[in-house]
Symmetry: C2
């Protein structure tokens, strides 16, 4: 695509060529596209427009669970299982950075050295900063790039703490909730949320005492959940991720859930909701920027000052903002 | 204000009269106003417009800390201390409901029976549902009502889990971070976030082993934080909330922080930021409603469908949304 010998400015990105190389399977080109996302590069608009026709093919699988249940090990074992079928797989590790410092606490959380040299595996950490919840609003764009550049499966791993569990479920076609025996109160406390988001439940560390009991309890609770007759019934599987045991069955259930979701219309519903939220988030971010910095100064700051002075209530101020 | 004998529909609210009664100290009228907030009543616009001139007088104090450090007990003891000075005090307990179920997990978390019959004390739980983080966007309105109806101090108590710590700090003039000895890893893990938000640190359960060590460690870490010469230096106090020990000193430090914040301009900065976020949140909610249901159907749903079909990328869809 680039005419050899023609000098061009160093900063310019030949977007069309980059997209083409990423789509042909070059990992470095994929990484470059993701850096454009993280840098909020102006070139992104063109990238996303070029990728749009190729989206919607990957199976996006969310993986969540409390700290200590073995998420990274399970993710790594899942990668092995998916690779065993010859499919390409990408891993997105959501980094629960402090919303204040913006720093990465668990930077290198995933060290999947087994896969480091496998060209069919792509791994990336994404900071979870961002106003709109646990997942950065760049995350949907990262997923979109990986989807459109030919990864068959995209695993999104997050720390299961409060809101992020829900966020990962919203971002995924299929959500895996991981548990482990001996986690005590942690499991109890989060059960309410957990029961609503899992499509596949995995009790890891199956060789430990109590794993079978955790599965039995969870099955019992799930069986009491009211569901329509044609609804998906989440399976509860046992694994020992460290030994790679039980992972093939997990992959089978992921496939089964995808097939059900496609047939039932649930996949389209989830993806429509996701697209909707993404469009809304982008529009809102654009508006916030517009409100914060207009040619006649910071409109929002002026209104906030009038609210503080008691001249306006916030709703009246919001009306003025929207009318402007 | 109401003309006796004039029949009026049951559902109608005589807002002006209600506001007047709330401002004259009638707890039932205050409770009624807060119900209007929670119900998102159309009458709210008028309520907020009437209250606007009276806002900005209360000292809003956020109280956060990990589960088990004694937040409810400390809040109750603080209420006693503030009442001892003859001031009126309101308590807002943020209820960490599941964002999915919307249900209240800890409904009656605060049972401050000591204060149940005291007309100078007002207690209310608020659900923390809401898209914009740990605090519902109704919370600012609740604080506004309590501020404008003459409470000298408004205590906002929340469970210190991730985002909610930051949210309570954003909502407050002064933030109290509670710790306790023997919390082990919990304190360590959350220290990074804690060090950035506290204006006053309180080590509760001072009679337990290790309380003095927790204070020493915290002081040591805080002393290594770079601060400008005229910055507030957060004190670290010991309390035994169950016995009411040390609370007067906490109240003194709350006063000292408020006085510093007023003088330094920090109070105005925080309140401006709060007003700004509130106006922005209201405007965005209004926009979302407008986008979701217009006379020509659900505009966002149409755009999401086109994104899903690969016809548009989300940024282009957002442009169409904003142009419409």
């Amino acid at each position: 695509m680039t005419a050899a010998g023609r000098p061009h400015p160093r900063a310019a990105v030949d977007v069309a060529s980059l997209v083409e190389r990423a789509r042909s399977g070059q990992a470095r080109a994929v990484a470059r596209l993701l850096s454009l996302v993280e840098d909020e590069s102006p070139a992104l608009r063109e990238v996303m427009a070029l990728l749009a026709p190729y989206t919607g093919r990957a199976h996006v699988v969310g993986i969540t669970g409390a700290p200590g249940v073995g998420k990274s090990t399970t993710t790594s074992a899942l990668v092995t299982a998916v690779r065993g079928r010859g499919q390409r797989v990408a891993v997105v590790a959501i980094d629960p950075s402090s919303p204040l410092s913006g720093g990465a606490l668990l930077g290198d959380r995933i060290r999947m050295s087994d896969h480091a040299t496998d060209p069919g595996v792509f791994i990336r950490s994404v900071a979870s900063r961002g106003q709109l919840g646990g997942l950065a609003w760049t995350t949907p764009q990262v997923l979109r790039v990986l989807d459109a550049t030919g990864f068959d499966v995209v695993l999104v791993e997050t720390v299961g703490v409060g809101q992020s569990e829900v966020d990962v479920a919203r971002a995924a076609d299929t959500t895996v909730v991981l548990l482990a025996p001996g986690m005590g109160d942690g499991i109890q406390a989060s059960k309410a949320g957990i029961l609503e988001i899992g499509d596949v439940y995995v009790v890891n560390k199956a060789d430990r005492e109590g794993a079978v009991a955790v599965r039995r309890d969870l099955r019992s609770v799930l069986s009491h959940t009211e569901r329509p007759a044609d609804a998906w019934r989440p399976p509860v599987l046992l694994t020992s991720a460290q030994n790679g045991e039980g992972l093939d069955q997990v992959v089978e259930e992921l496939d089964a859930h995808l097939a059900w979701a496609r047939k039932s219309g649930e996949l389209e519903r989830r993806r429509l909701r996701r697209a909707r939220e993404e469009v809304e988030a982008i529009a809102m971010t654009a508006l916030r920027r517009r409100w914060a910095g207009t040619s006649d100064g910071d409109r929002l700051a002026d209104l906030a000052a009038r609210v503080l002075a008691g001249e306006l209530d916030p709703s009246a101020a919001a009306d003025e903002l929207l009318d402007s």
